[in-house]
């Protein structure tokens, strides 16, 4: 993840007023917690074992902790992180306000999971509002790299539901 992507991600987390955010992408893992979760906002970046690629975490330690506000991009920029080839993840956003469901029912399999290859038109989730159930179709093809919302959680208009690597 590049600085720019990290900055955008943190801004997004801040805007969405999440109390906790976890992301794992094979190469690294990130956990963001806001004041509502604990007393400080903590950013932890833990690289998973990587065989060939250079790791993107600070070289001195496997964990970096930033205690300032996550909105402070200056703090993030001051952290020494190496540039990685840029990845342009495309978000799938919620077109409506409602409740996010990863499967068609409690006993059904999730429509998609991380690592799944999807084509345009593939149903990725359901967003329900006032007894209107909406199957959300992907408009793009690619690989699901991240599920951004937990099952049965409320979502707003334009909430990012999935990140897709085209």
């Amino acid at each position: 993840m590049t600085f720019k992507e990290m900055e955008n991600l943190l801004k997004l987390i801040s805007e969405l007023e999440m109390t906790e955010f976890k992301m794992k992408d094979g190469e690294f893992e990130i956990v963001v917690r806001t004041k509502e979760y604990g007393n400080t906002k903590v950013i932890t970046q833990v690289p998973a074992p990587v065989v060939q690629q250079p790791i993107i975490a600070p070289p001195a330690s496997t964990t970096s902790t930033v205690t300032e506000s996550i909105a402070s991009t200056k703090t993030v920029e001051s952290t020494p992180v190496k540039e990685e080839p840029k990845k342009n993840y495309i978000p799938i956003k919620s077109p409506i306000v409602g409740t996010f469901y990863r499967s068609a029912g409690p006993d059904k399999e999730a429509f998609v999971k991380v690592g799944d290859k999807i084509q345009p038109g593939k149903v990725v989730c359901i967003v329900e509002a006032m007894k209107l159930f909406n199957e959300i179709e992907a408009e793009i093809g690619g690989t699901i790299v991240q599920v951004m919302v937990e099952d049965a959680q409320p979502v707003e208009y334009d909430t990012v539901l999935f990140l897709v690597e085209p």
Binding site: P95, I96, T99, A129, M130, K131, F133, E137, E139, Y157
Partner: protein, 255 residues
């Protein structure tokens, strides 16, 4: 069964003696085949009808209406889709009201139909969204028509026959629903949203009436509220003793 006097709704009708769920069938069918807008799926025996969340919609064979209608409201923005609830609820209300002369027919937000305050019809809509565009909308309508005994665990369930004290012709009611749905849907399509909203409020249970409600969150106390509006998203707007608030379906309970 045959639907007459419509241009769109019910011109194609698929009849099944028995189906688990007309909505499930139509939602799956439309993924693999091209179906005309207005296609209706009807079954005399729906044995695994879909209710809200994990609820089941119970129905005795050959007594009731279980039907789904395919609409393609690509003209409607996804975030104004609550109008589909308004259209479907008004259609059923308009269809059955003339058959029940002295009985109060009301819509309970968002889309139940009440006879004398008891539920006789449930509506469940399943859309397919591509971006902010609604490509398909499957409108599921279940109406208790001639069934006269209900599970004692469902004290608020009723039927047209129970309230009207006679049996009704199911095909006639299906026709009326199709005709009314077409009428209301075309009103929506031609931009007559305010007309639809006015008609919805005119039939809305507890509209402009003080009544008791309770939030579904734990430890909430009952409170007085008066339905004054619905938001674009379809949330219920209540006037309270000290201001105004809007509620999602999952947040509020009618007492």
């Amino acid at each position: 069964m045959k639907v007459t006097d419509t241009l769109l709704v019910g011109k194609t009708l698929q009849y099944f003696d028995s189906l688990p769920s007309t909505n499930e069938y139509l939602v799956e069918k439309v993924k693999t085949t091209t179906l005309a807008e207005g296609t209706v799926v009807f079954t005399a025996n729906q044995f695994a009808g879909k209710g809200q969340a994990s609820n089941r919609w119970e129905s005795t064979p050959n007594q009731n209406i279980a039907m789904s209608i395919l609409l393609k409201p690509s003209f409607l923005l996804a975030n104004t889709q609550f109008y589909l609830n308004i259209v479907a609820a008004l259609a059923v209300k308009n269809a059955i009201e003339p058959l029940l002369k002295t009985i109060s027919v009301q819509i309970k937000w968002p889309n139940d139909i009440l006879l004398n305050g008891k539920k006789t019809c449930g509506i469940l809509i399943q859309n397919t969204l591509s971006g902010s565009n609604i490509s398909n909308s499957v409108v599921g309508i279940g109406v208790n028509v001639n069934q006269i005994t209900f599970d004692p665990n469902l004290p608020n369930a009723t039927s047209l026959a129970l309230q009207g004290e006679q049996t009704f012709d199911i095909e006639q009611i299906v026709n009326a629903i199709c005709q009314q749905l077409e009428h209301c849907y075309l009103q929506l399509k031609t931009g007559q949203q305010s007309l639809l909203k006015t008609a919805y409020f005119a039939s809305l249970y507890r509209f402009e009436t003080w009544a008791w409600y309770k939030k579904t969150s734990a430890g909430s106390e009952p409170f007085l509220g008066k339905i004054v509006d619905i938001t674009t998203n379809g949330a219920l707007v209540l006037a309270l003793e000290n201001g105004q608030a809007s509620f999602d379906l999952k947040q509020i309970q009618f007492l």
